[in-house]
Amino acid sequence: MTWFNRLKDYSKQQTDKLLNRYLTQIPSGIWRECPRCHSRFYYRRFGNFDVCPECGYGFRLTARKRLRMLTKDAVEWDADLVTKDPLSFPGYSEKLQRAQKITKLNESVWTGLALLDKRSVALGIMDPYFIMGSLGMITGEKLARLFERATLHELPVILFTASGGARMQEGIHSLMQMSKVTAAVNRHRQAGLLYIVVLTDPTTGGVTASFAMEADITIAEPKALIGFAGRRVIEQTVKQKLPADFQSAEQLQKNGFVDEIVPREHLTEELKLLLDMNQSNAWRANHDK
């Protein structure tokens, strides 16, 4: 066996292990355990929104489940784009296939046109179960197209972020997505259009360091983990134990980065209200003339 095959084999074992972990993180069975407060509860107490009845933490959702919570009227965009394997990374294509099977998405973000009670929005939902919602080339492509289409059709954008950061298997190509999407966000803003981001658990790394922090209005879900560097990396670097609520949505708000923390069950109503307040403005009609 050549070293390369050994590496390939090892890498496959690792990805399988990881994938199994992601799979098992999708709650199943009749008991749930909250990763924040560690309380265990019967699944019916979850309610319709998958929220911990004890502490209010919103469990991670697949993009399709999140979409169902928001609206029934939606048209998906760019479901036909196919992820390339720019580094021919061992085991990557299998990993992608499994992620696609779990999430029923072509990539780690769902994008499309959605109606929130007659309000048209360009909607993006990242899926934390698709290789940790990592930022692949096609993820970036779908997001850039989302903002470009929104600019063209003068639509507001609502984006739910959930990401472990860059897609390591795509190397530098993943990194480039941060600038690519940011540029599309800029043009959307320059057209005077509204961008609302909803930071969900977890939003980290390259996604935090780009379009997650570029919205006009920044909402976060309670207790969501939001940060740039990973907790362990920071702890090893500063040689200190970090407080439990470090990088929590609540802490982030105190530090000046979050407008509102909105519990999942109120989210749809809040988004509609914010859309209405921004879009319907008779003074604007005067002013733009």
């Binding site: 803003r189 005077g192 509204l194 922090m213 006009d216 209005i217 708000q253 105190k254 530090n255 000046g256 980065f257 979050v258 407008d259 509102e260 209200l273 914010l274 307040m277 921004n278 319907s280 403005n281 008779a282 003074w283 604007r284 005067n286 002013h287 733009d288």
Partner: protein, 256 residues
Amino acid sequence: MTNKEKVSAAEVVKRARSDNKTDSRVMIKQLLTDFREFHGDRNSADDPAIIGGIGRLLDRSVTLISTQKGHDVENRLATHFGSPEPWGYRKAIRLMKQAELFCRPVVTLINTPGAFPGMDAEKAGQGEAIASCIATMMNLKVPVISLIFGEGGSGGALALASSDRVWMTEHSEYAVLSPEGFASILWKDAKRSSEAAEVMGLTPAALLDAGVVEQILPEPLDLVGLRQQLFSAFNELFALTPDALVEQRYQRFRKF
């Protein structure tokens, strides 16, 4: 303004500083519907001494920014009795730029002894933050109306009052610094603050004469009336082109 009594400038200052002033949050609630508070300067912190957000004035969206003293001890300490820190002004700047982008007018409500003179505040660039806030307001392409409803403490107040129109309530004051500070700097005697208050011309009537403010509103404030007044004033100001609006504001301050 009802001219029911002649009060001394020192008495005006006392009333302006009164603890019985309407709480900012209560005022906002009565002035706007669906007010949504937005937090943070996107840089370092969220200052409780400045509240900002969007809401509806009658049927139209406006951005509102207000200083906040708080009504209990804990709140008053957290806000340093309504003295904003640099991150408070930077939040205000962020929200004003957002208002401009979405073509919303801006209302500012002011009751502050001044910007907070603290070490952290100084380190974070209190001066720069106030300067940027003024610069932002002077260039803003949407109308801004300010109401001073208590203390208008120096640069800390001006930072939010570089507006198209500045209104004051009957029992409020607006000055380059506190009468105590004025007396101690010019006369080396803080006890002569009453005398200083007279000299400084910090009463609403004196400021109206000087053209620093456009209108004095009687107290207790009629918030339903104020809503209507703001609405009409914004209608007038929105009739101007954005460039004409900025030019008018330029001339408003150029005359001094």
